[in-house]
Amino acid sequence: MAQLTLKNLGKSFDDTDVIRDLSLDVADGELVCLLGPSGSGKSTVLRMVGGFETPNRGAILIDGEDVTRVPPEKRPTGMVFQSHALWSHMSVAGNVAFGLKLRGLPKAQILDKVQEALALVGLEGYGERRVWQLSGGQQQRVAIARALVLEPKILLLDEPFASLDQHLRERLREELRDIQRRLGITTLFVTHGQDEALALADRIVVLRSGEIEQVASPDRMYRAPQTRFVAGFIGSMNFLPCDMRGGVSDHPLFTVRAAVSDGPVELAIRPEALTLLPASGTGARVHRVTDYGTHLLVDVDLPDGGRLKAMCPPSARYETGQEVAPGASHVALFRGDAKLAEVTVERRVADHV
């Protein structure tokens, strides 16, 4: 049962604001991903919650209790580091038992708890191994067990799987998700991988230069990005600049109707919202087709020099240089960084044929 509240946090390094004014509530048992490009301040936020950085402004509350000035060793948080940071001069069990020994628990109880924690991460019987005898994935599991064995109120993870290969990363991600669900532990997870955030999080917080860009569920974050930055950062997105005149876009290929004042806009279209039909006279030509097995990714050169990425069913056939008519089922309109409208369009294919 733990709730985390960040109130108007601010942090500067050498007079440069790394975190401007950040407020966030993490509910009990929730897994929140802090997502952002490098330098967005996501790790700094995590380190402030863990007590490794002191905020210049604002407050951190765990279950309503102000811990802003509490040193890390006295905070009810458990951290997993990117470099796993296991103590290589101790055995696996020694690593997990360290914090328990500091708390002065009786030996038998420590033994039980260490066994339990290792079992939780699937490393029964690995207690006597040396840290360097384990693989990267196993080391990170030990790090997770080491953090969890102390039963922290808040679990903090700083890009824990960044150094692992794709397959292992996906597997550990699922395991972590299961463990987190089972224990119901409030979790803050920092990552720069949007797929990781989409797969893990109850809610995603997208950070950009020390400020929250958007907070939303993975589903909303992907399907209804509120800013151009989020639209471009999460998943892949085609941006087509054009002008709105009298509520209609003047793009030669995409006629979008929306109640938007006149002026320049960008049409944002997901690759999977695009369909390509054979056509002539559109000036849009297939540049390259990449077969990903589950789908084709088709690059289309537009007459104005731009390029589109379209996701097509694997059964479709396209030739390089072939003229196509792109049609969009869903378009978002951005002016500057702000979203103006979202439109579901009917197909305009018939006009071009």
Binding site: E73, F81, S83, W87, G99, A143
Partner: protein
């Protein structure tokens, strides 16, 4: 002639290449070996020679007569025990002072940090003898001349650089996240130093401690200038033997005796930390 099997041919070529000896490296190693080993060998032979007249390549008579004579002298045993006590005291004191200081230099930011850090080099930047004479003047006023603690103090100065610079590098190499993880697990700063930073830096620090011990054991100028006439360490005793005696063998026996502590220390270190990390400690 039958056809040559291409697989055996291709297999043989690289084997041949790797087996070709590195003549230049061998020659260099040999030259270095001669320069280092020959004087040691000569001293060692002198220690066991009873009669060795020019121009014979080897002594005419071998024997332990001078060993018995040397080892029978109480001043040799006194010097040996004094040297060991001095070296152990100096090394322990040095570790006690320098290791926390090295940790502070490696991990903390405080005003004057760089100036202070360089000041540890200062004692090695000037001719040592001049410095020693100046210090001897001060010690004379303080009544430290010819006392155990006077020599301890002067030898402590000699170990400072080694015991600061090498451990600083060692502490800097400890992954900061490891220390943070220990904080996270509930350890206070001192506990983190004791349980994580120190063991992580241990192989390198052990090398520094060993170098300090051996360096102190063989330190002569300070021991002689400050310690004379009451405090006579092994090297000082050896110098008096060589200076005052026509018989070379006394000095040679003492010299061979002096190899023992450093040899034991080196062997002990190799066993303890393994040659790989030991070399790393020296920055190799």
């Amino acid at each position: 002639m039958t056809a040559i099997d291409p697989t055996t041919l291709s297999a043989e070529v690289p084997v041949h290449r790797t087996k070709r000896p590195d003549w230049l490296g061998l020659a260099l190693a040999l030259a270095l070996g001669i320069v280092v080993v020959i004087p040691l060998l000569v001293v060692a032979i002198w220690a066991f020679a009873e009669v060795w007249r020019y121009p014979s390549l080897l002594p005419q008579e071998f024997g332990f007569r001078f060993w018995q004579a040397t080892l029978a002298r109480p001043d040799v045993w006194n010097a040996m025990s004094l040297s060991l006590r001095l070296s152990i005291t100096v090394t322990l004191l040095s570790a006690l002072i320098c290791l926390p200081a090295a940790y502070a230099f490696a991990r903390m930011d405080f005003p004057g940090r760089n100036v202070l850090f360089l000041s540890f080099l200062a004692s090695h930047a000037f001719p040592k003898f001049g410095l020693l004479v100046a210090i001897a003047g001060i010690f004379l006023n303080l009544g430290l001349i010819s006392t155990f603690w006077g020599v301890v103090l002067i030898q402590l100065v000699g170990t400072l650089m080694m015991m600061i610079w090498i451990p600083v590098a060692a502490f800097q190499n400890v992954d900061r996240a490891m220390e943070e993880a220990a904080r996270d697990a509930g350890a206070g700063p001192i506990r983190v130093f004791w349980s994580v930073s120190l063991p992580q830096a241990a192989p390198t620090i052990f090398a520094a401690v060993l170098l300090s011990f051996v360096g102190t054991f063989y330190e002569t100028e300070g021991a002689w200038l400050i310690g004379a006439p009451e405090i006579r360490t092994m090297p000082v005793l050896m110098i008096t033997y060589i200076n005052n005696q026509i018989v070379v063998q006394y000095g040679a026996v003492l010299s061979v005796l002096l190899w023992v502590p450093s040899f034991i220390a080196l062997m002990f270190t190799r066993r303890l930390v393994g040659s790989g990390s030991f070399a790393k400690g020296f920055g190799v």
